[in-house]
């Protein structure tokens, strides 16, 4: 927990891949709160932020987390084309 709070850049990749248990939501919120304005967090997710409340099961906590992340946050929208489906289509086409 100590290093998760203090490293200068924490990358949380593929947030929201699975539904998280409630304790995880609490831990994540705790980490984001402690890091807010102290250290940078880079989060990637394939779920729109509107769904995060459902994923973590605690809308209030997620709102608080998002407020912090977005306050000094840079949002990069990726897409819309996907590498993986392109590769799959190419492979399918070759057969």
């Amino acid at each position: 927990m100590e290093s998760l709070t203090s490293v200068p850049l924490l990358i949380i990749d593929d947030f929201g891949m699975r539904k998280l248990p409630l304790t995880a939501a609490e831990d994540l919120l705790e980490i984001i709160m402690r890091r807010y304005e102290r250290a940078s967090t880079l989060l990637t997710s394939n779920r729109p932020v509107d769904d995060w409340g459902k994923l973590l099961g605690d809308v209030a906590a997620v709102t608080a987390m998002l407020d912090r992340l977005l306050h000094h946050g840079h949002v990069l929208k990726c897409g819309p084309r996907s590498w993986r489906t392109k590769a799959a289509t190419a492979a399918g086409g070759a057969q």
Binding site: L4, V7, D13, D14, M17, S40, L76
Partner: protein
Amino acid sequence: MNLIELERALRQLRLGGIAAVLETRLRQAQAEAMAPIDFIACLVNDELTRRSERLLDRRRKQAAFRDPDRTLDNFDFNFNPKMNRSLVFDLATAAFIGKREDALFLGPGGTGKSHLAQAIGQAAIQRATAWCTARRTSCWTIWPKPSPMARAESSWSR
């Protein structure tokens, strides 16, 4: 002190970078009739180079990227031309880390979010910023305990 004793003493002084090149540099100094100051400068430079390489190695290892080969150089920006490239490169300067700002990469699977996140991590390491990465939020319980290194590095960064 002969050469062997000298090398041992250098290692004792934690100057392994100099110890490793001493013999070669001595030969060079003789061949080129180097001025003493140039010779010493050369050795000090060797030590500095080796230290910064090791630091980079250590940070890369500590970061434990899932795909260490993912960098900005091999990201195809033309695949999704509408993506905000200048933001990506701004983030890669690691200035946002200095300002303690955050970043969110959103989009469907397979659009390069993880690639870019790791590329920016790599860039940040090169910008001499210590850090750590955590993969997959679902792996909550198996995250490693902070190593002495992680603590040392993070205290160094402040």
